[in-house]
């Protein structure tokens, strides 16, 4: 059993320094790794990123993160990423990483993701340049996620996890106003996960949403936005049999 701790939308700033550290210090008792599902800061400044970095620096479990829309607000995602990496956090965007847990290769593929909506109710690459760019951005990030998951499978990972900020499914948005679903996620992310296969998908972004969901292809989805899980982090136990991770690509 691989124990995966995850939380998103912690929105740390200078006035919330130290808020999560007492709970994070107990992580070795609960989990083998910690996933951070974006919106780690409020405005995406390096100063706020340093608060996040201090919160997770030196933890006894590996920490893997994606950025969220808040982490882009100051338009310095590279600086935010650098601060987090300096603290030992693996920050993913269209790439994967492998964590060894008791000899088991656990792969995490990550992207921020973006909006656009869900199958049958989504935006298209059509019309104004802004609209085309919007959907193209989501498609590009979903393609990066698919490639990263494929590479983890080729790398022999027994367990694969898709980590995003935006949601791949509408299930975990229940509780949010229906009208804003297109701003909360995209089916393109779920399609990438189902194409490549994954044992678990973790996202944040939807504060008023629901924890549990599933993709059309059967990938379990968990919304770990902190207001949803109502804890410093949630923990999911994943069996190590590789059945789901290798079940992709029906011929």
């Amino acid at each position: 059993m691989i124990r995966v701790a995850a939380v998103g939308d912690i929105h740390l700033g200078p006035d919330s320094r130290g808020l999560l550290r007492p709970a994070f210090d107990t992580l070795p008792d609960h989990a083998d790794l910690l996933l951070l599902a974006g919106d780690l800061t409020r405005h995406g400044t390096p100063e706020e990123a340093r608060v996040v970095a201090d919160e997770v620096a030196g933890l006894q479990v590996p920490v893997v993160a994606v950025l969220g829309n808040h982490d882009h607000h100051a338009e310095r995602p590279g600086d935010v990423t650098a601060v987090l990496r300096d603290a030992g956090v693996t920050v993913l965007e269209g790439e994967g990483t492998v964590v060894e847990v008791d000899g088991v290769r656990v792969g995490v593929a990550g992207t921020k993701g973006f909006g656009g909506g869900f199958a049958g109710r989504s935006g298209s690459e059509f019309g104004e340049p802004e609209m085309k760019a919007f959907v193209r951005h989501t498609r590009g990030l979903a393609d990066g996620l698919r490639r990263a998951l494929d590479e983890l499978a080729e790398g022999g990972c027994a367990v694969r996890i898709a980590l995003t900020h935006f949601s791949p499914v509408p299930d975990t948005l229940v509780g949010e106003p229906l009208e804003i679903y297109p701003f909360l996620g995209s089916y393109l992310l779920a399609e990438a996960m189902d194409d490549s296969g994954a044992d678990l998908a973790v996202h944040g972004h939807a504060h008023l949403g629901t924890e549990h969901g599933i993709t059309s292809g059967g990938v379990r989805v968990r919304n770990v936005a902190q207001p949803v899980i109502r804890r410093a982090f949630a923990v999911y136990g994943l069996p190590v049999d590789g059945s789901r991770a290798s079940a992709a690509h029906p011929s």
């Binding site: 912690i10 919330s16 207001p227 899980i229």
Partner: protein, 113 residues
């Protein structure tokens, strides 16, 4: 406390939240409601753009009051949200149900089959 029962459709905007300068005579009861909607939208913009960068509150008109629900990171954040709401919605009854984030470790994991 607002009751939401005293503004029949023919009352007009005189004592409603949108009844200030610019209220159009004979425009009916839709204007106060519309004004409140716009003011809620402005409040949401202000919360998002300000120091809090708060986009996670659900803010809705209910009767002649405005309800704010959601989860704030700290008590200070919750107070700031209510302070900004009072500034943005003067004359409007604001009811808030803002929980504080729980920052404790979970009791148990969810084991996936």
């Amino acid at each position: 406390m607002a009751t939401g029962h005293d503004d029949t459709p023919m009352n007009g905007p005189a004592d409603g939240p949108g009844g200030g300068p610019g209220g159009r005579p004979g425009s009916g009861a839709a204007r106060p409601v519309a004004h409140t909607e716009y003011r809620i939208a402005h409040l949401e913009e202000r919360l998002a753009r300000g120091d809090l960068a708060e986009l996670g509150m659900r803010i809705e008109a209910r009767g002649d009051a405005v309800h704010i629900t959601g989860t704030a990171s700290t008590a200070a954040d919750r107070e700031a949200i209510l302070r900004i709401a009072a500034l943005e919605l003067p004359g409007v009854s604001v009811r808030a149900d803002i929980a504080l984030a729980d920052v404790t470790a979970p009791d148990r994991p969810e084991e996936l089959s």
